[in-house]
Each structure stands twice: as structure tokens, then as C-alpha cells.
Symmetry: C2
């Protein structure tokens, strides 16, 4: 056996354990009966701890050292060298965190998630408060395994968005906020769009069938995936051949399941598009949470809420939901799915106000980590900040601090910045694709997504984690991440929708 | 930490790994997309190998030695001593089998199961033949880890039915066969029952709803379980709080899903009834495949196909399936669900001919293991033997050698004897319950199963694996296993159904 085979064998075992843990979590979020919760938390923790033990085995460190020399003469873009780089990065993160902390966090997270599924519908923050306090403590302990950080959030952000820091996020958010707030203000001065056509009773089965039909056309491969129902939709992967999505359905809001399905499908297209030969290695994953989110938002919004998309699909959805949409014209529907309003729930928010929700959470994460806000005060502080940003009172914790699964399904810190990075990148990637293939918008108008998907696969998906997020963005778009394409995209879309005037653009 | 806590902690880790592997297999048999098969096989193999490694750690042997002394003065029925006995037995079996063989068998089994799900519907034995040849080889290698056996099947039988040997099974089967064959002959001389009422088109959703309603009354706890669809129904357990069953539905045969649901529910009642404090230890499982099957057959047949049961449930099923059964009287329905006939498929077989199916498979297992029958000749030999036993030609491998999931989901050897042991024990246990509570049959007639379930919980379920099968039978029924209660049961049920005469009873 070569040194490289030895390393790959060990990484495959780690992958088997992590994938099994992912399946246990998927099951917990979809089908598991409530009685299974306690043991399930322990089981996930055991698998997570064993995966961590196998990865941080000192033998892995030695193999990495040997391979650094063995592969030194290979070209920079050699796959095995990329494997080495990414493995070393993960290994160096992992060896700093004690196994006991890893499994404590994992077991605690499973318990907290289970409590959240009860607390949210019953609007009972108190049920989760002590759990969240422990989450905060565990998150701090995890961050403190990486002394020398500038912000305590930095190590937590680095787990999901390599190369990003609290400082760089804050700079980006400040700039973005300065441009978004006036846009929100301008739009909300206009008469709000009428979205009553989306709120008619639409049977669950019909909604699910239509969503599945659209993602089939997007190119989601059902031989290597499936969709199930859950509380808070997510995408998960057990191997290159099994990339699943989840959704939820509200019979009084047809937009909910549909756009959640398109969103998760975007994540899944990324994972399904990774080169098959990377399967079972640390390279077989999206390169960061921000780049991942760029794909979910691209397929959900840039494509799925575009006029071109609905030029093709509107007659189809009218046939599918004849009672609800038979008498509604495309313009009304298009305005309804792009209604901009100050609202309470992030995942229901429109594209313009969405990032303000993210910023609120990001700041609160930092406030908690840095000790300025205690968990017990979170509902109050959330309410104050929300009122300041949105001019609205928070009617209940259910639509406030309990609304997101994050914080309840992992550490506090690093959970939210990826959403806004994703929004920003979604426009930048789409622009680059259209620059390369100007006929993409015309193809979308006839329900053909192959060329767009192929460009994304070629430039983003296939590489998995082989490039860092920054490298990937530069290679794919020719420039570093920039908010301009995103702001242009928003302007071009919302200016005609709300008859904005040129002097409202800043 | 005490020595006992140390042992229990290790066993809990083994249990977490095995339970995770069980969930991976459940998922493979219910929801997994086909593309996930290859990685899934490897993942299950990894977890199985790690569980084996953890269990066979020499430290476990040392702990057992120390604890043997530490607990020597405790009474024989002490739970920790039972834990010690069962753990030692499993440990001694496991240390003899090399880890590599365990994971090879596991991975091979997953691949073979996946092939079987394709081969069966397409009637393609050839697709599974090379896999089955390897299964036979692996099964032999597994058995040969236990030199000194009398029959090569003995070690494989011992995995699932402790205390049972090929010789003892053969003796039992010979005796039973001598009594069953004349009974089958006598019954099949009569006009066959008319079961047309069961074969009318009945929508899947209606069938599932009715089955769920019945097992709710049986006492299946849905907070600690659920039912899903699969190819070949089974019960599986991930913890004391999560004991699941699976079923399948044929819209042209309403008996199929219903009795499969009652059957798997019987297995689940056993597992759900085990004392909660045994969870996560080797004691938290049924004590043997035979005793397990006694419970599935008891709830499926002794209760579920009894006149008393349907006295209560017939009006309900008539309401549920009004189109199909509205005009059918109870007598006709009762005769239909107890129709005795020579037929091809074991799981569809009636109670009288069922054991002849098992005997055929048991003998073929031995023939293969002992080299008298090659896998490639299996379809032919199956056909010859089937014709000799049932007087019927086998129309296709689908209804012949491909019909059972066993052999395709584990070793060849030890897979079938439990079914007949279970039939025999089902009547013996039921008799003992009725002897203790003579009002049980009257309760069943009003749809009340609490007293029967309580007796079974008290005498069988709660103990898990704490007693050996033989001990459990003696304690619960006051005598060793005997075929007489079973033959009595069959006679009392089928004599009036088919107007058998006293001289046909031998």
C-alpha cells in the first residue's frame, strides 16, 4: 500500500462515520419517532467522536508530512495535492479540539434540536434557554481551542467559511447595509405588491408534485437523491450517489414549499455535480458555506424568481393549481413572488430585506460570544434590534428568536454569515455564466437549464473543495468577491417592479 | 468508575455503532435512492467492523474475568450477572471471527441485498448467483471459525438460536413433518376455501390505515416506533425508544399488508416490552430468533387469524373496506384468511403448510453448506424438492429461490429454523397465557388485548435476552418446548373449518 492509499483509506473510514452520523441526523429530522431522541443524540455523538478520533490519529499527521514531500513536485492543481491541502487544514482544526468536547457538542446539539422542534411550535423559548446557555458555553470553549484569534467568532466562522473573519464580514455587511437600507426604504414607500394569489389553500400533494417536476428540469438526479418533509429544510449527503433534500409545506402558502425546494435543490446540484472520483474524501463537499449558499440562492432566486423562468413555467403552474391561479395573470403572480416587505421570518423574507435578517443574527452571535448579551435576554434584545431595523414589533418568540434552526443545531457563531455571502456570490456567478453564454436567459425562458448548469458544474461544482472559496470565485468570475453584481441585479429586477427612480439608486 | 461501569460504557459504544448500522440498513430497505447502494454497503461494513473491534478488544475479556469474580456472590437471577453471561457468550463468539471477515460479510451482504431487490422483480437469479456463491463461501468461513462443530450449520444456527443444533432441528422437523403431512393431505382433499373476497382491488392507503388501527389496539407504541414500506417486511430497533416495522402492500390482496403488519408488530411488541433499564446492553434484545418468531406468529396467526379476533374486528374492516367486504359474511371471510393450500410462497403460506416451506429451505441450506448442492444448481434442486413436497411445479425463480430475502441479506445457514421454532412456541406460549388468565379469549372477542400483552410482557418481553430460550420457555410455560400445543391448536382450528374426521388426526 502506498502512503497515499493509506491516507485515503483512513479518510474513507472517517467519511463513513461522518456520513452515517449525517444519516442519523437526517432520520431524526424526518421520520424518527419522538421516543428515539435521547438514544439518537448519543449515537450521533459516538459516531462523531469516533470520526474525530480517526482523523486526529497522530499517524494521519505523519502521513501528511511524508506526502507533503512525496507530492512536492506535482503541479499545484494536482488533485492529490489539493486533497493534501484540504486534509491538512481540517486535520489542523480537528487536532486542536479535544474529542470529549466534540462529542459533548454533538450530543448536546441533538438534544437541543429535539427540544427546538417542540419549543418552536409551542412558542416556548424557556424550554430551550438552558440548552442554549450550554451551547454558548460549548461554542466559546470550541473557539478557545484556537488561541490568538482576533474575534472569538473567527474560529467558528472558519469551520464553514475558510478565509473569512468577523472583521471581513463586518466590513462587507456595513457596505451592503448602506446600500440596502435606502433601497428597502424606497420600495416600501410604494404600494405593497398583492400576494393573495399565493395564499389560497393548495393541497400538499399538489405542491410537492409541482416542486419535484421543476427540480427534475433543473437536473436534480433522483437516482441519487430524494425529497422528504421536515421542520426546517436542509440538504444532506451520504455519498456522491445519495444527496437528499428536505422541504416543508404550508397549504395556505404555495410559495413556501416551492422556493424551499428550489433552494435545497441548488445545494444538491452542487453536491451531485462534484467529480465522482473525489467521493469519500474531504474534497467531495462544497468549498464553503458561502459558496454553497450562492448555489441555493441562485437556483431559488436568480433563476426561480425571475421573469424568464416564469415565462416558461407559469402556464404549467396554472394547470397544476388551476383553482388557485387559473384566473391570475403572470404579472400579478410575478409581483407576488417578488413582494418586498418588512417581515418577521428570515426564510420567508424577500431578496431585498433578507440580508438585514442575517446581519441582525450575525451581530447577536457576536454579542453573545463576547458576553454583551446573555441568552436569557435574547428575546428582549432580538425584539429591540428587530424594531430598530424593521420598524416592527416581534409578535412572539416563534417568529423571533425561535424561528431559525441555527443555534439549536450547532454552535452559536459562524452559522449565518454564509447566507449573505451566498446572496452576494449568486449574482456574481450568474453574471459570469451569462457573460460566457449570453443565450442562458433565453434558454431559461424555454425551461432549459442545461447550459447554466453545465457552466456551474464546469466552474464550481466539479471541483468540490479543491479550491478555497476565494480561489474559486476568482477562477470562475475573473475577480474577487464583490457586492456590485448583486446590487446591480437587485436594482435591475426591482426598479421596474416598483417603478423606482434613478435618484433612488445610490 | 467501577469495573461494571467500564464494561457497560464499552457495550454502549458497541450498541451505538450497531444501532447506527441498523438504521443504515433500514434506510437502504425503505427510502435510499438506488445510487446510494455502493457507498451504503461500505458504510455498514465500516460500522459493523468497528463494533466488532470494540467488542473484541482484549480489555473486554479482562473486564469479564474480573466481573465474574466480583459478581460471583450475587444471586443467579441478578441482572448484572445475566449481562455478564450474555456478554461473555457474544464475546466468545465474536473473538473467534476475524474483523476482516466480519466487514467482508457485511459489505458483501449489502451488495447482495441490493442486487436481490433488482433480481426478484425481474426474475433474474443469474444476477445474484455469483454473489450467492460468495455468500456460501463466506458462510463456510464463518462457521469454520468454530472448529469442533458436529454440523457446519451449528455455529450459524447458534448466532440466532442459542442452544439449538442442526441435529435438534432435524429431529423436531422429522417429528413435525410426520404429523403435518397427513393433516395437509386431509385438508386438501376437501373443497378449497374461496378467498376471492380478499383479492378485490383495495387502495393502498385504506389498507395501511386499517393495519395501523389494529396494531394500535395491539398496543404498539407509535411514540416509540413507526411503519414504512419495503420489499420484504422486517422489524428493526435503534433503541428502546425507536422500534420500527415495515410492510408492503398489494392492492389485489388485502391480506398481504394486514397480516404482515400484525406479524412485524408482534416482533415489535417484544422489543418495546423489554425493560427500559436494559437499553443499550446486549440484554435489550429478544432472546432468540425462535422466541422472537413465536411473538410475530402469535399476534399474526394465533390472535390475528382467530375467530374471536374477527368477531370484534369484522364489522370494522367491513366499514373500512365497504366496497370489497360489505356483502361478504364473517364465515366466508374467516375461511378465506385461513385457506389451506399448497402454494409457492412461504410468506403467503397458511399455518398448516408453512412449516413445509421452512423445512425445504433448512435442508437446502445444509445441502449447500455441506457441498451436496452447488449454488448454480439451486433453482433446479429447489424445483425438484418443491415438487416432491408440494406436488407443484415452480413457475419462476421469483416464486422459488428468489422469493425470500434470507440468504440475500446474511449468511446461508441459520436463517430459517427460527420460523418453525416460532410457530411451535407461539401455541405453547398462548396456551400458558390462557391457562393463567382463562378470560383472554373473551377479551380478544371484544378487541381487548391488554391481559394477553401483559402476560407476555411479564413472562417473556421484559426479560429481553436475560434468560436463554430454553430457560425462558420453561419459566413461562412450565415445560420444555413441545410440538403438542401447536398440533392441538392446528387441529382445533382446522378440524371444524374443513370438517375433518377424528380418524384423520394422528
Amino acid at each position: 500500500m502506498t502512503t497515499l492509499d493509506d491516507l485515503k483509506g483512513r479518510l474513507l473510514e472517517v467519511d463513513d462515520l461522518s456520513s452515517a452520523a449525517s444519516l442519523l441526523k437526517w432520520d431524526q429530522a424526518t421520520y424518527m419517532p419522538s421516543g428515539g431522541g435521547i438514544a439518537r443524540g448519543r449515537q450521533v455523538a459516538t459516531l462523531t467522536r469516533l470520526a474525530h478520533e480517526k482523523l486526529t490519529d497522530p499517524a494521519v499527521g505523519k502521513l501528511l508530512d511524508v506526502l507533503d514531500k512525496e507530492l512536492a513536485t506535482r503541479p499545484d492543481d494536482d488533485t492529490d495535492r489539493a486533497l493534501l491541502r484540504v486534509t491538512r487544514r481540517t486535520w489542523e482544526q480537528s487536532v486542536r479540539i479535544p474529542g470529549a468536547l466534540v462529542s459533548e457538542m454533538s450530543e448536546h446539539t441533538a438534544r437541543t434540536y429535539q427540544a427546538w422542534t417542540v419549543a418552536r411550535p409551542s412558542n416556548d423559548f424557556e424550554l430551550t434557554r438552558p440548552l442554549l446557555e450550554k451551547t454558548l458555553d460549548l461554542s466559546r470553549r470550541m473557539a478557545n481551542c484556537f488561541p490568538g484569534y482576533e474575534s472569538i467568532a473567527d474560529p467558528l466562522i472558519a469551520f464553514s467559511d475558510y478565509g473569512v473573519t468577523a472583521k471581513s464580514v463586518r466590513a462587507l455587511f456595513t457596505e451592503l447595509r448602506g446600500r440596502l437600507v435606502p433601497l428597502v426604504r424606497a420600495i416600501t414607500k410604494r404600494a405593497p405588491a398583492d400576494d393573495a394569489c399565493l395564499k389560497k389553500h393548495t393541497p400538499e400533494a399538489d405542491q410537492l408534485a409541482f416542486g419535484l417536476e421543476v427540480i427534475k428540469r433543473y437536473g436534480y438526479d433522483f437516482d441519487r437523491g430524494r425529497q422528504d418533509k421536515t421542520h426546517h429544510p436542509f440538504m444532506t449527503k451520504f455519498s456522491q450517489g445519495d444527496v437528499r433534500i428536505t422541504t416543508r409545506v404550508r397549504e395556505d402558502d404555495m410559495a413556501d414549499a416551492l422556493f424551499s425546494t428550489l433552494h435545497e435543490c441548488g445545494h444538491a446540484l452542487y453536491e451531485q455535480g462534484i467529480r465522482a472520483d473525489l467521493d469519500g474524501t474531504p474534497l467531495s463537499a462544497g468549498t464553503s458555506s458561502g459558496v454553497h449558499e450562492s448555489q441555493s440562492r441562485l437556483w431559488e432566486n436568480v433563476v426561480g424568481r425571475s421573469r424568464g423562468f416564469w415565462t416558461h413555467f407559469y402556464p404549467e403552474i396554472q394547470r397544476a393549481f388551476a383553482t388557485q391561479l387559473g384566473a391570475v395573470d403572470l404579472d400579478t403572480f410575478y409581483r407576488a413572488i417578488n413582494k418586498v416587505e418588512r417581515s418577521h421570518v428570515r426564510v420567508d423574507a424577500d431578496e431585498v430585506t433578507y440580508n438585514l435578517h442575517v446581519m441582525l443574527r450575525f451581530d447577536l452571535e457576536l454579542d453573545m460570544l463576547e458576553g454583551r448579551v446573555a441568552v436569557k435576554d435574547l428575546p428582549r434584545v432580538w425584539g429591540e434590534r428587530f424594531h430598530a431595523d424593521f420598524g416592527l414589533a416581534v409578535p412572539s418568540d416563534k417568529d423571533g428568536v425561535l424561528q431559525d434552526v441555527h443555534w439549536y443545531d450547532g454552535p452559536i457563531g459562524g452559522a449565518f454569515q454564509g447566507y449573505t455571502l451566498g446572496n452576494v456570490l449568486s449574482a456574481q456567478f450568474f453574471d459570469a455564466a451569462v457573460k460566457a453564454h449570453p443565450q442562458i436567459p433565453a434558454h431559461i425562458e424555454r425551461g432549459d437549464f442545461a447550459q447554466l448548469r453545465d457552466w456551474l458544474t464546469q466552474n464550481i461544482y466539479q471541483h468540490g473543495a479543491a479550491f478555497t472559496p476565494a480561489e474559486l470565485v476568482s477562477r470562475a468570475t475573473g475577480s474577487p468577491m464583490s457586492i456590485e453584481p448583486y446590487l446591480d441585479y437587485l436594482w435591475k429586477k426591482y426598479q421596474p417592479l416598483y417603478a423606482l427612480t434613478e435618484d433612488e439608486r445610490r
